[in-house]
Symmetry: C2
Subunit: 445 residues, 2 copies
C-alpha cells in the first residue's frame, strides 16, 4: 500500500483503513450515507460469485474494503483480507447458553439522546447499523438477532473492544503479581525508555492517562496515526518507505505531550504499548495469552483471531475478531465476578476494581459530552450510573455492555458508517438502559 | 513479491513457495538437509519473542517462510502469513474420539522401500519429518504424537490432500445429480471454453486424465507453474506485472497438450478447474461447500481454513489447513462408507466408487515407480493392495491413509525437506502396512 497515495483520499474513511479501526473522528449525521437496509452487505453481494463481478470485489491493498458500504462486508470477513493469528478456544465442547427468548424486547421504547420522539428497540438496530446483537439476562439468551452477512457462526471485528481484553489481561496479571502496575513501562520494555512511554507507569497505560503525542487528525499528513497504521500494515512496504516497519518500531518513536497521570486521553498507542508489556511480563504474545487465560476457559464456541503486523505482532489496540455469542460469554463471566463455566477465570477483585472505575475528573477532561460522569479503568468504560453499568466500546458501534443491577449483558457488533461512537450512542446507550429496566420488571422465575 | 527476482533462487524450494505446495519435484536424498531433530521448529524458535530476533522472523513476501528448515514452522502457521477463509465446523460440540492407546506401535518394525535394514515405526517419524500423526483403529485413537510446533490444537497445511476433499465433494454432487460428470467443463464454466479444459469432461478433471500443458519444471522460467503461482499470490501485483491475476484468470490461459482421457497426469491446475466447476454447480465457493457438506457434519473439533487469491478464491489445488484429528475424522467417515457422527455424510456409493479406483493402465503411464499397480479416482490415490487401502497425499509428506481390511485410518502431517512424496514414501508406505498388519493381529475386543 502506498501511504502517500492514500493520504490524498477521503480522510474519514481512510482513518478506518489506516489506523486499523481506532479512530476517534468527530460525529456527524449519517444523512449522507445509505440506510442500513440500502447498505445491507448480503443484498449488495460483496465477494459473491465465481469470480465476483469486478464492482463487487473488495481488496485490502487499495483500501476498497473499508469504504462504506463495502466495510459492512469486511467487518465480518477481515480474515479473508489479511494475515491473522488464532485465539484458540481449545478443543472442548462449548459451554451451553440457556435460551429464554423475550421477543417483546423489540417493542421496548426509549428516547434517543437529543431526540424529541421515542424509538423502539427494533428500530434502533437499523438506526445504528447493527450486524448482530445478543442480550443475556441472568445468563440466558433473551434476545438474538443477526443482519447482513454476520451469522452466529462467524467472527466480526471487535475494534477497540480489543483494548478491554488487553486491560483485563493486564489487571489479571497484576492481581497475580506477575505485573507491577506502578513500575515504569521501561522496566518491562527497555526499548521504550527513550519514547514518551518510558517513564509512564503500567497503570497509566492501563487507564490511558499517559501524556503522549498521538494525533488522529486525518487531515494532517504528519499525524502520528498515519505512521502507526503504516507501521502495522502487514503488506510489504513500498521501496522508498522510511518509517517504522512494525508496531513495536512505531511505539519507540512516540513523543511526549503533556504530563503523565493528569487526565484521560484515549490513544490507541497506549494499548499497543500495553500489549508489548504483557508480552514481556507473560512471555507470550497477547493472542496466545488471551487464548490461555480467557478464551479457552470460557467454553467459547468459536476461535477468535487477531490481525498481525509484518512480524506477527497481534494488533493489541484493535485487532480482535470474535463470535458474538462468545463476546457475550466473556461479558457474562465478568458480570459473574470472574466465575463462569465452572471456573474462577478472573479473581473477583479484578472485576471489583473495574466496576469501581477511575477518576471521573480525569475522564471529564477528555470532553466526551455524551458520557457525563463516566470514567475509564483497565480499558473499560465505566458509566457510574445507578445500575453500575460498565462497557467495552469499539468504533462503528462495537459494544459489550454489562449492567449488574439488571443482571444483563449486551454484546453488539455493528458497521455504522461513522467511526466515532458518538454517532451511535444516541440510539444505543438509552436503548440499553430501557431494556435493563424492562428486564428488571420481569417476574423472577 | 517480485516473481522475477525469486526465479533466480533455489528452484526446488521456490517451487513450494510459488506453486503453493503442489510440486512434483524429483526425489533426492535429504542428506543435504538437517535432521528432524536439528530442524525442530520449536527448538529453533521461529517467530518467538517480542519482537523475535531478526534472524528468526519469517515473511511471506520475501519467501523466507518456505525455506528449509523455516518451513517447518510455517506449515503450522500459514494463517499468520496470508489471508485465508474459514471452513467452519459449526457451533456444536465435537464428536468424541475414543482412546485405546497402543504405545507398542512404536516398536513395530518394517523394511523401508529400497533399504537393506529394518526401521521401527518410532524411527520412521523422525526419518520422514513427521509433525503429527494419529492412528485410528475401529474408530478409536490407538496412537497420537506431535512434534515441533504442531499441537492437537492447531491447523497444519494439508497441501494436495486438499485435492482429495475437492474430488470427494465432486463425487458427492455427482451422486446427488447436481453435477454431471460426462458434461464438458465449458458447460459449467463457459469462460474455460477456449482453454485446454473446455472440451475435457468433469470426470477427466476428477481423475486427472486431461491433456493440458502445465509444466512444474522450476528450472524453466516459462513453466506454467510460475504463472499459476503468480496469479494466485494474494499480495498486490508488481506495477509491471502483465500475467493472469487470479486462479480463474490463469486457468483460462492453460493450453492443450496430448489428448484428454488417455492417461493419468497429476496436474494441480485440474483441481483448480474442478473447484471452479464446483462453485458454479453448487452456487458457493469450495470453502463454504466443504463446510456445509462435510466439515460441519463431522463433529470436527476445529475450523479448517483455506488460503485465497486476491479476489477471495480458495486455492482448491492445495490451500486447505486443518487439525490433525479432524483430518482423521474425515478418514474415519470415509472408512465407514460415508456414515459418521450419526449421519450419512456421503452416500455409500461414493466411497465404493473411490475404492474401486480407476484405470491402472492409465495410472502406470505417469511413471510412479514407487506406486506400482495404483490408480487415481476422484482425487484419491488407490493402492489396489490386498487390504484395499486408498489414500490422500500432499507434498512434504501429508497423508490420509485408509485401510479397510485393517479397520485403520492414519492421518499424518509432515514437513519433509523434499516436496515430492517419493522422498518419504520409502519410510511411510511400508510403515503403514506394518501397523495395519499389527492391528489385524490384535485380539478382537
Amino acid at each position: 500500500m502506498d501511504i502517500r497515495r492514500l493520504k490524498g483520499s477521503l480522510p474519514l474513511r481512510l482513518c478506518l483503513l489506516l489506523s486499523a479501526f481506532a479512530c476517534s473522528a468527530h460525529a456527524s449525521t449519517p444523512a449522507q450515507f445509505p440506510s442500513a437496509q440500502a447498505s445491507d452487505p448480503a443484498e449488495l453481494g460483496w465477494m459473491v460469485g465465481s469470480p465476483p463481478p469486478p464492482e463487487r470485489i473488495l481488496r485490502f491493498d487499495d483500501g476498497s474494503y473499508f469504504r462504506f458500504p463495502q466495510m459492512r462486508w469486511s467487518v465480518s470477513n477481515f480474515r479473508q483480507l489479511m494475515p491473522t493469528v488464532n485465539v484458540s478456544h481449545g478443543l472442548s465442547a462449548p459451554s451451553p447458553l440457556k435460551r429464554n427468548l423475550l421477543d417483546a424486547i423489540d417493542t421496548v421504547s426509549f428516547m434517543p439522546l437529543g431526540a424529541d420522539k421515542p424509538m423502539t428497540w427494533q428500530q434502533s438496530l437499523l438506526a445504528n447499523y447493527t450486524d448482530g446483537i445478543v442480550v443475556l439476562h441472568r445468563g440466558a439468551v433473551v434476545y438474538e438477532r443477526y443482519f447482513g452477512v454476520l451469522k452466529a457462526q462467524g467472527q466480526h471485528g471487535a475494534m477497540s473492544v480489543t483494548k478491554t481484553f488487553m486491560g483485563t489481561l493486564a489487571a489479571l496479571l497484576v492481581a497475580e503479581g506477575t505485573l507491577e502496575p506502578e513500575r515504569k513501562v521501561a522496566y518491562y520494555v527497555p526499548e521504550l525508555a527513550a519514547s514518551a512511554f518510558g517513564n509512564a507507569t503500567v497503570r497509566q497505560l492501563m487507564d490511558m492517562t499517559t501524556g503522549i503525542r498521538f494525533s488522529e487528525d486525518y487531515a494532517d499528513p504528519n499525524a502520528e496515526v498515519w505512521a502507526h497504521a503504516a507501521a502495522g500494515n502487514p503488506l510489504p512496504k513500498p521501496a522508498d518507505y522510511q518509517g517504522p516497519r512494525t508496531y513495536y518500531e512505531f511505539l519507540q518513536t512516540v513523543q511526549p505531550q503533556g504530563k503523565h497521570g493528569e487526565a484521560f486521553h484515549y490513544r490507541t498507542a497506549n494499548t499497543d504499548a500495553l500489549g508489548w508489556v504483557l508480552a514481556r511480563a507473560s512471555g507470550r504474545n497477547v493472542a496466545k495469552l488471551l487464548s490461555e487465560r480467557i478464551w479457552s476457559k470460557l467454553g467459547a464456541e468459536q476461535d477468535a483471531y487477531m490481525s498481525v503486523d509484518s512480524i506477527g505482532t497481534p494488533f493489541a489496540g484493535g485487532g480482535l475478531n470474535s463470535g458474538l455469542r462468545d463476546l457475550a460469554r466473556f461479558g457474562e463471566m465478568v458480570r459473574n465476578n470472574g466465575r463462569y463455566n465452572d471456573q474462577q477465570i478472573l479473581p473477583a477483585e479484578v472485576v471489583t476494581d473495574i466496576r469501581n472505575g477511575a477518576s471521573r475528573e480525569d475522564f471529564a477532561k477528555a470532553g466526551y459530552s455524551l458520557l457525563p460522569g463516566w470514567s475509564y479503568r483497565n480499558m473499560w468504560w465505566v458509566t457510574h450510573n445507578a445500575n453500575g453499568a460498565f462497557m467495552a466500546r469499539g468504533v462503528h458501534g462495537q459494544a459489550l455492555y454489562i449492567d449488574p443491577a439488571a443482571e444483563m449483558v449486551i454484546a453488539r457488533f455493528a458497521s455504522h458508517p461513522i467511526a466515532a461512537n458518538s454517532a451511535n450512542d444516541p440510539t444505543s446507550l438509552p436503548a440499553y438502559a430501557a431494556v435493563a429496566k424492562y428486564l428488571m420488571e420481569q417476574p423472577k422465575p
